[in-house]
Symmetry: C2
Subunit: 247 residues, 2 copies
């Protein structure tokens, strides 16, 4: 959130849809927000991690700053996918009150640049999450959200699904080493479908950038799977150009 005293530009913000993957589910990092409604009843809901930009702060940098404040992570996959600027996106009295409380300013109109980000939950710093009352919520169980944040998540997910089909970005959410099954479950969670395991392997293992490690799983009550890792260097070298008409 806003650091008191810093010079903010109260007309422009960034919001981050931070995706992560755990217990076979695609999750989003949400911040708990407490507020008192008009009848004085203390209540709470959730919002996306986001912030006003500082005067002279680059949008991308504001997004990575937000990301770091929430997770402790730097140099993270981050992609700007849309701007949300409906004049009435701040119209719920609860939201207006909350803005007043947290910024001390009367704010009627904010245009927000939306980013999505892919995180390996295992590498995130839990202290940061606790400090921000942040938690990882299953994308299929999104609670009531502040502002137009539900729309933002929806659009972000659509965009993530689209990108996943044309670029190998799933790895960003997995640990350094993972099994092909891990990867398949991740794809299924993101695309919300089931995939044939033989065809998935065939397709994914054709990629030169997936390299098999000598290491195998241990302590599992079934045939242990090989670990693989994603080789960014190889990927960058082999990036394909394709016309790929699809209509």
């Amino acid at each position: 959130m806003s650091i008191p005293g810093r010079n903010i530009n109260p007309t422009i913000s960034v919001d981050c849809v931070i995706f992560g993957f755990s217990t076979n589910q695609l999750k989003v990092l949400l911040i708990e927000r407490s507020f008192t409604d008009r009848s004085g009843i203390e209540s709470k809901d959730y919002k996306l991690p986001g912030d006003f930009i500082s005067i002279n702060e680059d949008l991308d940098l504001a997004a990575s700053r937000t990301l770091e404040e929430m997770t402790g992570l730097r140099d993270i996959f981050l992609c700007q996918f849309a701007v949300f600027g409906k004049p009435d996106r701040i119209s719920n009295p609860v939201d207006m009150e909350w803005l007043l409380e947290t910024t001390g300013l009367e704010i009627q109109r904010v245009v927000t640049a939306a980013y999505y980000s892919l995180i390996n939950i295992g590498e995130t710093n839990t202290d940061f999450a606790i400090k921000n009352s942040a938690s990882w919520i299953d994308v299929k169980q999104i609670p009531k959200l502040a502002f137009d944040h539900a729309d933002i998540i929806e659009q972000g997910l659509i965009r993530l699904q689209l990108s996943l089909r044309s670029e190998p970005i799933g790895f960003e959410m997995l640990p350094e080493k993972f099994t092909i099954r891990d990867l398949q479950i991740l794809y299924e969670a993101i695309l919300d479908c089931t995939l044939d395991n033989r065809n998935f392997r065939k397709k994914i293992l054709k990629s030169s950038y997936l390299v098999q490690l000598d290491e195998k799983q241990t302590g599992v009550a079934h045939k242990p799977a090989h670990y693989y890792r994603f080789d960014r260097y190889i990927y960058e070298k082999h990036k394909k150009e394709s016309l790929g008409f699809n209509f």
Copy 2:
């Protein structure tokens, strides 16, 4: 440009990359901008059609307003594709001076929502273009541009190419009735490639939403081509879902 007296939000603007197609070339609508540089020499360059948003104006509406002011057209294909918000995107003294002249305000920082739009040049109202000193410039011959508008066009074109591969949007730039050849040349111009005419026809004619008219070309010194039209209704009904992995 800004209507004097209207209440603008001088921190947020929209810029439109308006694509059109004529004489077998993909074109962009650019506005001529005259300015006097520091040594007092009168000079000119080009900029994208764009404007600050009004207080309480929706971004999409600001973009369609701009579009209508430039071309006289309403209800036009329009797609927001990125936000440009580098703090130094307004740093050239010429640009800063020009902003001061046209708005009367000292402006240091503007975040702009970029849209691209597809126009049938034949339907545009020339009076509007003349009034705005706008002209259609071949995308391969873009002159020096104001601000970061060259980047915006480049990103817009990349996005247009991407969309053209997955959605039938080329029709937006053609008249109501057109020949398959017209369409192929349009595709070649946008994608900057050549396409085999037999394969192109085979592929495109598979689409149920391309309907052949009884009418043929007349007065051409060769076998006259059939006219076709794009049926939006059929397209919407048959929209495909496809996983289409491509990595």
